[in-house]
């Protein structure tokens, strides 16, 4: 176990998205963290959860939460760790009820569960800005809340805090404010805590996962250690991974996460503070520990970020694989013939996308085509968008007959089965008045 600095609070990032691996929790627990944070919500996860809730009102939370709690609850019951998660999604109270029921079934008791609600503004259409899609059109609309309601929950003795759309990094700031007693206008400390949250919120991405540097040198890549941080009362933070696990924490891996999905690094907007990353220092200690100092903060804004989504038609796709000789030419020819056949069939497409894997599907215009000519194999991917679901599914029928009745020879279907359509969403973002959203925020605590 890594020794912790005097007075430090130890927090762990136990989940980076809905569908992440619950396995690394066991390794995290060997480092005896005070708090484990499970971050379950990407930008669009709420759309998936909203569909669940529409079908069954006891759903609407990320359904892998029980897998994490199974591993964490024994240590929670010993009073050694507290768990904070936004896995409540669109329905935190349903998640808490699920936990209560499961605890009853297994005969577990003696812990306190808190829920935070009020981020969902679909039921409060008066909060939607004028140029925002209407409540009827929206699949979801949630404000990104900050750390305050989570701190409230911890102050009421919660061992497990289940929220909806609380900003990822704020879930990590909350236990630091609670334990270190930081003031809500101590901007540099709040910024330090928020930055730690940002470094821990994407699980393995700060411990060598998705590493664009020397990824092949990361030890034991099959057993990734998730990140931990020892945060001292002055905000100094040591980022590390469990000693028993693989992965890597160094200047390169931590910097990649530092900049990930951040815009202006000198003004990273969060609900509780505006974080300045351009003043900080990362000190690589050379033993899978990086120490962060010098983070500064500016006063928080008066608004929360609001994210919603509206339906935008349907999409389907089909891929065909072509081989040498002239693989690229065959793939391009097949795409043109397919497009013409769809046109002649009178099927209306709103959008048509052709990509050549093995040529430039992923890098697009950044690829010099002469440099990659003469490939052994090319996979043609065709994707299309239509207003109507059945039109979308009919399109493939006009492509498949190319196998016998069009010139380019010898292609194999890449993937099995007929293409199915999926519904698309367009994201809408806006700013909403914090004070008005906060009027609807509620923290409830239940002893189990």
């Amino acid at each position: 176990m890594i020794q912790r600095p005097e007075g430090a609070v130890r927090i762990a990032g136990g989940q980076g998205f809905y569908g992440d691996a619950p396995g690394p929790i066991a390794d995290l627990l060997t480092e005896e963290p005070d708090f484990v944070v499970l971050e379950a919500l990407a930008e669009l996860t709420l759309a998936i959860l909203n569909k669940d809730r529409a079908r069954d009102e006891t759903l609407g939370y990320t359904r892998d939460l029980p897998l994490y709690l199974l591993q964490l609850l024994p240590t929670v019951l010993e009073g050694k760790v507290k768990v904070i998660t936004n896995a409540g999604g669109i329905n935190p109270r349903a998640a808490a009820q699920m936990v209560a029921k499961a605890a009853q079934r297994f005969g577990l008791s003696g812990f306190t569960v808190a829920t935070v609600v009020g981020d969902d503004v679909l039921g409060r259409p008066e909060l939607l800005p004028e140029d925002f899609p209407s409540a009827e059109a929206l699949a979801f609309a949630n404000a990104y809340l900050g750390a305050r309601p989570v701190v409230d929950a911890l102050e009421q003795g919660a061992d497990l805090v289940i929220t909806g759309r609380v900003a990822d990094a704020a879930l990590f700031l909350a236990p630091l404010v609670h334990e270190h007693g930081w003031a809500w206008d101590d901007w540099d400390k709040l910024a330090s805590g928020m930055l730690v949250g940002h470094l821990l919120e994407c699980s393995g991405q700060s411990t060598g996962g998705n590493n664009a540097g020397r990824w092949w040198e990361v030890p034991e890549p099959w057993r990734f250690g998730f990140p931990l941080a020892d945060v001292q009362p002055d905000g100094t933070a040591t980022i590390f991974k469990p000693e028993v696990a693989g992965g890597r924490v160094d200047y390169d891996t931590v910097r990649q996460q530092l900049f990930y999905e951040v815009h202006d690094p000198s003004a990273y907007l969060t609900p509780d503070v505006v974080v300045d990353m351009t003043t900080l220092t990362l000190d690589d200690r050379g033993d899978d520990r990086v120490v962060v100092t010098g983070v500064t903060g500016k006063p928080a804004t008066d608004t929360y970020k609001l994210v919603g989504a509206v339906a935008e038609g349907y999409a389907a796709e089909l891929s065909l694989a072509f081989a040498w000789p002239d693989a690229e030419a065959k793939a391009r020819a097949a795409a043109d013939i397919a497009r013409k056949r769809i046109e002649v069939a009178g099927l209306a497409l709103d959008d048509w996308q052709v990509e050549l894997f093995g040529v430039n599907a992923l890098h697009g215009p950044a690829v010099d085509l002469d440099e990659v000519a003469g490939q052994s194999e090319v996979v043609l991917r065709m994707a299309w968008r239509c207003a109507e679901r059945d039109v979308c599914e009919q399109v493939a029928r006009h492509i498949v007959p190319l196998g016998l009745s069009a010139p380019p020879p010898g292609f194999a279907p890449a993937g099995r089965g007929r293409p199915k359509s999926s519904s698309l969403l367009r994201i809408a973002t806006a700013l909403v008045d914090k004070r008005r959203v906060d009027e609807g925020v509620r923290v409830s605590v239940e002893k189990i």
Binding site: G213, D252, F259, H263, G364, P365, R381
Partner: protein, 135 residues
């Protein structure tokens, strides 16, 4: 000066928010990190990144230098064909765009390239001799 691909001296990770793609471009840790960062600041401008991506990136490209971490941050608007959930691209979140920027051709002093040596790269089968590999 030699013309080389950005990949010779830097690495990059991309992320997404709605229809925006963001890139972190870094000088790798090592004895020449300050010199490499200076080359990045000079060569990898917002204008060149915008031109490099052609019609993949329809909106503005903004650059934020952060010398304290030897990195450049780029924010590219209208870069994901409508945003993750709407985009028809296979890479709807632009996860590969960090790699794409490394194809950019830049000018690097010959002495610096000589000091850095060849670009570190994995073997064709990187874990062929790893103890944990299942055969």
């Amino acid at each position: 000066m030699a013309k080389v691909k950005l990949a010779e001296i830097a690495f990059a990770r991309s992320g997404d928010k709605g229809d925006r793609s963001d890139l972190g471009v870094f000088a790798p840790a090592g004895p020449h990190i300050d010199e490499v960062y200076a080359v990045l600041e000079r060569e990898v401008t917002a204008e060149r990144v915008k031109a490099h991506f052609g019609d993949f990136v329809r909106g503005e490209v903004t650059r934020y230098p952060a010398p304290n971490v030897h990195g450049l941050k780029f924010v590219m608007e209208e870069a994901l064909a409508g945003g993750g959930p709407r985009s028809l691209r296979a890479d709807n979140l632009g996860k590969a765009l960090g790699g794409a920027v490394l194809r950019l051709e830049i000018e690097v002093p010959d002495e610096l390239l000589a000091k850095l040596g060849p670009r570190p790269a994995p073997l064709r089968d990187p874990y062929a001799t790893a103890a944990w590999r299942v055969d």
